[in-house]
Symmetry: C2
């Protein structure tokens, strides 16, 4: 039995952002353990032979409306990013590169910048601005995310997710059960609380 | 303002079955009006350029588990059909063919046969058996579903759904707002009750 709910995410996913905010609300007392597992959603979709909703006009429009609606229902600040989608490769490699004690703040700042403040995170200046607030040297960061070990690690984590039959984000895994989508966070928590 | 929630469905969709059962539970007192709108999901997917989850191994496996889970949480009897997917063309044309006062019973019996009792509805004998319990003559039925008017009507209703930017089932529309998926039934009902 694993001791925590694995939470597979990519910062590019609006539903991963919503799930993250829901987790923060639901889990203020930290009675549920979440293990954050980064992956590259674009790479995962390729492995699973899935066309992301972002690349279908009808799904895209629905996703936009649905994210607005779900956010409102859950009192989550949310604003659709005008530059969606972008390649999240560097941002996700960055999550792996930064020190363990900065990962949570890194995640929060990048999630908020993209899904609350409509920042264009394909623009390096905007990324650098966030890095500065995290006291991370942008040059060291740029070097870090081009490091072979970091590149390999993100690939490996994405492949690991795929090998668990994960095909989208967010995905929760607990007790070997897979729950896909922010709508299933509560189901994963039920499973956790029933077996804890 | 429309007076009812439009409910777009195809009997082939397990989530449409679940939504239908949820509606029956939630709406025992009939305070919410639902307008059942048949369409051909396969045709709709083609129009919207969408690969159905049934044709991706990972999505298929997840859908199966998820339907089991959602049914259990909602106390709905459900059993994954071993012959999924089949072509629902004749069954959906049949829904249009049968008399108005038999549509509800027709829907219930075909939904239950496919998503509760694991009947192979690609087999005409199994269809005929259900028709008999509805006092519908199988020969008249077979003629009816090959009638040009019925063929045209199902195509037309599917195109109408597509023109409303519907791309999947179940879909609910109320107050010009589109809600996709059984997970959004409660949102559609909230909208209905807030504006009624």
């Amino acid at each position: 039995m694993t001791k925590s709910i694995d939470f597979y995410f990519d910062i590019i996913s609006p539903y991963a952002y919503i799930a993250h905010k829901k987790i923060e609300k639901i889990n203020k007392d930290n009675r549920i353990l979440f293990n954050y597992k980064p992956m590259l959603l674009g790479g995962l979709h390729n492995l699973a032979n899935i066309t992301a909703p972002a690349f279908n006009d009808f799904k895209m429009k629905n996703m936009k409306n649905d994210c607005d609606l779900v956010s409102k229902k859950n009192s989550i600040q949310f604003r659709w990013n005008e530059k969606f989608p972008i390649n999240s490769l560097y941002i996700m490699r960055g999550y792996l590169f930064v020190n363990h004690d900065k990962k949570k703040e890194y995640l929060n700042k990048f999630f908020d910048a993209y899904w609350k403040d409509n920042k264009d995170l394909s623009n390096q200046d905007n990324i650098n601005e966030i890095l500065k607030t995290l006291n991370i040297d942008p040059n060291l960061f740029l070097e870090g995310i081009k490091d072979d070990e970091i590149k390999k690690l993100l690939k490996q984590m994405t492949t690991e997710a795929f090998n668990l039959e994960i095909f989208g984000a967010p995905t929760f895994i607990y007790n070997n059960k897979l729950f896909w989508g922010q709508d299933r966070l509560e189901y994963a928590i039920d499973e956790f609380l029933s077996l804890k």
